[in-house]
Symmetry: D2
Subunit: 305 residues, 4 copies
């Protein structure tokens, strides 16, 4: 049995030289001022035991980590979503690329690149009565934290600067792969990205994926065992932009990162581990966060491979 307190302390010490390093997501004005010296890490076992270290009370917008949650709502209701409107293969291209989309008739390679996340949000927009309200309630339920909120300022700021995403969604609309009005879908998408929570919340929110689809906090089934495994599989093959091979190689866990500096990783049947540090590497993943997760699977010896 691992001593996770000791492991977290060791990691915290090891990653110190990386703090203050990396870049922040300066194309999103509201994120440009993030403090790259911040770092937090949390572990939650399935029995509810929790461990954490660092700036654990600081909140941050989860950004692309939210793509797993929107996919969860969609895939639970639309079996065929990943065979009709979106693929599930690694893209081999940057997260915001339009190239593949043009060659492949507006069908994104997977739900975790931007194009795929936009189609997912479009499907969610179709499915939910009140997309923004319903999605926020869903995330609050998962996390057990009724206080979670959208950061309206970040959502607006990203919408305004989001020319690349506007290009992606217009291109897919041209290929008839967007069902709803573009502005409505973008508004939903930018709101989901703007949800703020702290690193411990992040760990809690994703516990259902370590627990085979059942939220261990309230014992409610979120999705089937099979769907949970499949979402973990997609996280492993597509979850960390164009660094998925490297992350599988070095960390060996299903993981999803966001440009806000947060990353969530799953040890199926055992635990969730979350990390946050705003400085990003050149692939867009948290620099200290990736290193911390690599150390975590090394010290705890719990990569899935």
């Amino acid at each position: 049995m691992n001593d996770y307190n000791y492991i977290l302390k060791q990691i915290y010490q090891d990653i110190q030289p990386l703090l203050g390093k990396g870049r922040v997501a300066d194309y999103i004005p509201a994120l440009a001022n993030a403090d790259r010296n911040k770092f937090a890490m949390a572990v939650r076992l399935l029995d509810g035991t929790q461990f954490s270290i660092g700036n654990i009370d600081e909140t941050f917008s989860i950004q692309s980590v939210s793509k797993v949650l929107s996919l969860t709502t969609v895939i639970a209701e639309n079996d065929e979503f990943l065979s009709t409107r979106c693929g599930k293969e690694p893209s081999g291209t940057p997260f915001n690329s339009l190239v593949q989309l043009e060659y492949e008739s507006g069908i994104p390679r997977n739900p975790f690149i931007n194009a795929g996340a936009l189609v997912t949000s479009d499907q969610m927009y179709t499915n939910l009565n009140n997309p923004k309200k319903d999605f926020l309630r869903f995330v609050r339920d998962l996390s057990g934290n009724r206080e979670l909120e959208y950061n309206e300022k970040i959502a607006r700021s990203e919408f305004k600067a989001g020319f690349r995403n506007a290009a992606l969604i217009n291109l897919m609309k041209d290929f008839n792969n967007i069902e709803n009005c573009i502005d409505g879908v973008l508004d939903t998408y930018y709101h989901q990205c703007s949800i703020e929570m702290n690193c411990a919340n992040l760990c809690d929110t994703f516990s259902f994926l370590a627990n085979y689809g059942v939220n261990p906090i309230n014992n409610k089934k979120v999705i089937s065992r099979s769907v949970a495994k499949r979402i973990n599989a997609i996280m492993l093959t597509c979850g960390t932009y164009d660094a998925v091979g490297d992350v599988a190689y070095r960390i060996g866990l299903p993981a999803k990162s966001g440009v806000g500096g947060g990353i969530i990783a799953i040890v199926p049947g055992l635990l969730t581990v979350s990390v946050w540090s705003p400085g990003l590497d050149e692939k867009g993943n948290s620099l200290a966060g990736i290193k911390a997760l690599e150390l975590f699977t090394t010290y705890a010896d719990n990569s899935i491979f």
Copy 2:
């Protein structure tokens, strides 16, 4: 000396089997009802002599043929436009492709693919006090026809359905290659495409390019001799979508086509020849129109090669 009346009659006879063939631009609702049996052709010598045949009184929207005119206004004022904001090389890809734009940092390959025409309209929007009004006046001056108008219905219809162009302009905005607000530039662009004229007007409008930059109708200098030659060169290498090689090979004249079915071609120092027929080939050029121009340079023996 060629007998152009005889040549036009011969061509008119030869292209009959192609009338009613091809497709129309059905992605533009207002163009979907065009009659593919229509055909008109006109020749204007530099001395003002005119020849024509077919449905010469019918008007049509000039669509992409207008890209030559917007480029003319821009290049006359902005020497460096084709070395900073837009290239002048054939693209080797379809007219509405986003691929090259992504690989090449938002700089379109040339001003006659859609991306390049949008950047050109953006520059025109910057240059002109009242872009739509000023551009219409410019075209009226060229044509000698004060009655020319935008077709507001077509402009609106194309704007509404133009998701691909919206993708292109958003992508370029993301690369900082669009200076003005997207909706304003798109509005200007769709208006310029919607200008309606008949085939004889088209011939007149472009006479300045056959006459080394001077409008032979009113003897006013539009652009310098050198710029006129350069625009002709770009028409030859980039004017007919991804059929430029084939058009140079079969026709051998600088030419610019539009999905409305119009094509203009230039015999420098001698004449302009225009043709219109709404049925399009698979490259988006008028089916009967391309054939008519091929017959024209064969019968009149005036290819530039």
Copy 3:
């Protein structure tokens, strides 16, 4: 504890409708006559217990499955191989594509696409005194079967028809990413692909990857625990051509397939499972084989996710 005899019987029954389906690798003359009605499957637990079903005595050439073995020899000696001469990211393109190679200066995306396997064979050619002889001995040691041989006829036949691989290796040579003479490397490569064994041998050969780098047959350490995990990770993200996402999603195990119809999959810490059936799906993976592995992880509930 799973009853693997029962599971294999169940699978054998379930996949019957797929036998005789799919295509064979007809671009390799020596494989074109493979019988698509054949099927074999084997399981080997780490304690040496073995289970099998079907045409378990039939041998076949392992083809691309051999890429894991050549990588094993190389990575054991050349730490930096996967950061200098070859990547470890999924390619997002077909296994024999030249496109990415051209864009990325002759560095293949990963060692399991053809380009990457050729660079791996080139490195092996550099490392080994007698590449063909030494590699064969290495595989015999792993399998515990001293009788394994190259199929010279298949090796020659593939070499002769291998224009695409010749294109790949010449392109990489042009980028200075091939150290040895092209014909020598190709000869080594085609020989490694031609190694013949039966399905039970295949299971045995790869047991070191389930056993964290130690061959459980003879208790010899092949590679370090860390390297074994890393090879498993690359198999998961890159092992099944452009179906890796789908295989992770449906099967959830590190796996490597070959166009001879063989597939090997690893349940780390538990077992290896191999399957063989020559009929291929459109991605180049064994049609019945992929289905059999999907059923296996469903019935045995041992996906890594």
Copy 4:
């Protein structure tokens, strides 16, 4: 009537600052020692009047300029060559790119990129009894110089270093677009590229293209008037690597360049003009040569536009 002696002198003076600049084709060992201070230019009117300046007696290998000559032999016999085995559109990609070839099933975009020239040589290899001997005789006839020879050292040197071309031809062979044995075709190709002549010979050799298909030196018809025009058209749209738009824009003549530093340009119905200087610009065209041709069409006012 232009005073070509005066024009050449003026040009010679103007281009002095460019001599010694640019790079040489160092990937071809035998060309790496070329003297970038050399420059020659020649003009030949259809009546046989000749003008020249600079190092007019120095010979150089014509390299890619030979692609026009191999195309001439092929197109004269195989009408359908440019619609079945090779296109005639500008490629929009570098001359030695494999990307388009892979996307477009091994059919090169045009005969003047390397892939297209290799297919052309393959067709020539099929057509001619003794490809190398017959082709040399053909070029000697065109030039009126019976002394022209292949430079065997250059041919061998390029063959040995030609991994990229080997990649291209193997890829096309894989797509069944090469009929003959690869080594035979490559040998023919490298020989045709190695033909040596001086700048005046180059001018003479291509006079048939200015004279509508008839060699003005001996009044023998080489190809039909129509084919001559078509070859000129392809030179304009595809003759100068990925600088065709720029060359059309600045020079306005059909032209073909080679990495040996030679360029030929055609003023249909009037003259041929050749230029040679080994220093190359970043597109692979002679730096001083392109400038000299730009000055030529400016001073002589004979661009085709």
